[in-house]
Symmetry: C2
Subunit: 154 residues, 2 copies
């Protein structure tokens, strides 16, 4: 199969490759998490909540605001993840309407292994790249993330 100039160009596009590697990593992460959690029902949408939940606990409304979706949809996903024992809820003592969402880090071993699995792709990357290149790449990619997020606001 012969490659045209334009196809070479496509292979040579950093943006294209970054999109691709992002998707592949995501796919791998989901598979790893499903396997380790032993939860085949774990869906992309659940994983998508992770970056918005911090370890001090976050309310449903706050997650919704951060993610830019309705609190109704977040509420549903959180409930499912609570059922899966990935998250747990705790009433806010300051505001009895509010429920804070937490990672179940201290839960059963299986859950802990699941959370680890989510990070496992990084071990693979570390292996592939070596520690120094990993760190230098992390710095560069983080820079790019910052650039694109800045552009978004502007």
């Amino acid at each position: 199969m012969k490659k045209t100039d334009l196809e070479k160009q496509k292979n040579a596009s950093l943006s294209h490759q970054l999109i691709k590697v992002g998707r592949l990593i995501n796919e791998k992460g989901l598979a790893a998490a499903r396997g380790a959690f032993q939860l085949p029902e774990l869906k992309q949408s659940h994983l998508d909540l992770f970056p918005y939940i911090d370890f001090e606990g976050t309310s449903v409304s706050e997650i919704a605001r951060r993610k830019g979706v309705s609190k109704q949809s977040v509420s549903k996903l959180v409930q499912e993840m609570v059922r899966m024992k990935i998250l747990f809820l705790k009433a806010d003592p300051e505001d009895s309407r509010s429920k804070h969402v937490f990672f179940n880090t201290s839960g059963p071993l299986a859950i802990q292994k699941g959370l680890e699995a989510l990070m496992s792709v990084d071990h693979l990357l570390m292996e592939q790249l070596g520690e120094k290149p990993y760190m230098s790449m992390l710095k560069k990619v983080s820079g790019l993330v910052a650039v694109f997020q800045a552009k978004k606001r502007a």
Copy 2:
């Protein structure tokens, strides 16, 4: 807002940052393409077909095989893109059942500008990084893509 160790760790995860930058670039690309093509109906799913269409022309079935989805769904998307004049079809002289899909590169100026816009994110990246770091990063990321694609098959 105070950061916990685990949150720092999340910021420091290369995989997480790669997923993020991929999505941001993708979003930017879609916005640029919509703007330049003057086609607000252009959807993610349409753009997703691009990497599987090469400039010698590709059949619907072949695109479906490459993408790993049914030819029915590809057929529909291709028809929409033909209606938008982004693609055009040509009968295969070798096989009268088969229709080959082509980019409308020689079409109206607006379309050409649209295709350029799809590549425009790379100009931004080139600016941000400089040419040498761009190339070195491209090499590394392409390496990662290869690794993950290999793992996928294995």
